[in-house]
Symmetry: C2
Subunit: 277 residues, 2 copies
């Protein structure tokens, strides 16, 4: 792992790091904020998975998470959203290929070699964070935005007991039922929609996966709400399954970091309460 | 004035606007955050002047001011740092010309026609803000970063009574005594250093200008501190003149928005206390 940069911020250290990923076959960049802490202390970890077109940098610069993470003693990890580099296959659209890994392990060509963001997040980067930072991996939470909200929900639902706290900002709740999801999963996983269910939060809940509870914030002025995000499908799936969920529709907020940053501190507090309980 | 964008954020509206400036002879872009407020209410205004290479966008995206401004009911205005456009003269350096207006009214050619950021901020944009937003212009504060810290200090010192509160992040405290200042003021104002004194916070204080008080935060790991910013010159000028000043050296912080955002909320609170007293 190499240090790209470190900056003192909000009583902690905001770092950006690169490493050679065995999963994606490429160098990968990610950011980690570590609050000041007592020597030898291990801090809980909050993962943040970003949305389409983003890198680690968007939330790192605009997310407004550091004050709350420093106050509550939480490490904040922000990975990239796909493999990068000239040798990595790409697509003309913003919603497939680079910047759009969808947190899946691709099985289709030419994507299967590099587009392994599921295993990258679940296994490789987790091990690296555990090794390189003062992280208490028994106390992990996960959140994300849009495509990254989909990632946070599905990763948590597939790994019961691993995350003590789960939240999302304007998540894609059902790739089975929206154009972004259909394009991405057809491309990465193939046309068999049964194979998509492990990458669909609503389907995972229908199929029996459960979380302790769940916080979602969704802006009512989000132009992607009706066609792509479809929050009501998650509300319905949780209601039918008896999955506890706090799903808040936020009046007038859109899909941008102006929305995310508004509710970020509340999410950090929500996670901290469960991670430090 | 035209609306470029508005986004709901932190219980208020973050807008970006353009207008044709008579002072600069160009279109100018600026941002304004207006917290939700009672109908007909007028809110105090905090000006934020940005540093070299910046536009309104840097602080708008990375400044972390909205939560505190919403909580305390303060409007936040962020102008650009120079005239813009293909017809505006420029310099190869990042520290002169576009992005580097230094908040002066240039007297030298070819700069004098467009580089009138002093009058733009002090007169034209102030009038526009008063007209277009629910701003109580009897309650104004001003702050800024680096070149913009210089701007905030000098504008406040030249306009006694106009700003109830003044602060700065890592300001250039004496253009007379640093390479950035010498290059900019020679270029915009000419070689007569006596004419620079109205653009030098330390010289203005030496020459008798006073503020009610003053808050400065300066990072100790700021690579520009020794050669360009020279905080001790301001400490000395304030001490000699009996100018009340709270000048805080912040251990390990650098010149970036990771530093600014860390102390932004404290500055907003500091201003709000004086603006709402």
């Amino acid at each position: 792992m190499e240090i790209v940069s470190t900056n003192r911020s909000h009583g902690g250290t905001q770092g950006v790091y690169t490493h050679q990923s065995a999963e994606t076959g490429t160098p990968m960049t990610f950011s980690v904020f570590v609050p000041d802490h007592a020597p030898g202390a291990k801090l809980p970890v909050l993962w943040y998975l970003s949305g389409l077109t983003c890198t680690h940098a968007n939330v790192t610069e605009k997310g407004e998470f550091r004050a709350a993470c420093a106050e509550h003693g939480v490490i904040f990890v922000a990975p990239d959203t796909s493999p990068r580099g000239d040798d990595v296959p790409d697509d003309e659209g913003y919603d497939f290929g680079k910047g759009a890994g969808f947190y899946v392990d691709a099985t289709q060509q030419p994507w299967a070699a590099n587009y392994r963001m599921r295993s990258y997040i679940e296994t490789e980067l987790s091990a690296l964070v555990a090794q390189q930072f003062p992280a208490d991996m028994a106390r992990q939470g996960i959140t994300g935005h849009s495509m990254g909200g989909h990632g946070a929900l599905t990763i948590a639902l597939r790994n019961p007991g691993r995350f003590r706290s789960v939240s999302a900002f304007s998540p894609i709740v059902s790739p089975l039922n929206c154009p972004w999801g259909a394009k991405a999963l057809t491309g990465y996983i193939g046309p068999d929609r049964a194979a998509w269910r492990e990458y669909d939060a609503c389907a995972l809940i229908e199929d029996g996966a459960r979380l302790p509870d769940l916080l979602v914030d969704q802006g009512t002025a989000d132009t992607f709400l009706e066609e792509q995000l479809k929050t009501p499908l998650l509300q319905d799936a949780c209601s039918r399954a008896g999955q506890p969920a706090t799903i808040r529709m936020q009046d007038g907020y859109d899909h941008s970091y102006y929305f995310i940053s508004t509710f970020m501190a509340e999410h950090v507090v929500w996670h901290a309460g469960r991670l430090k309980a």
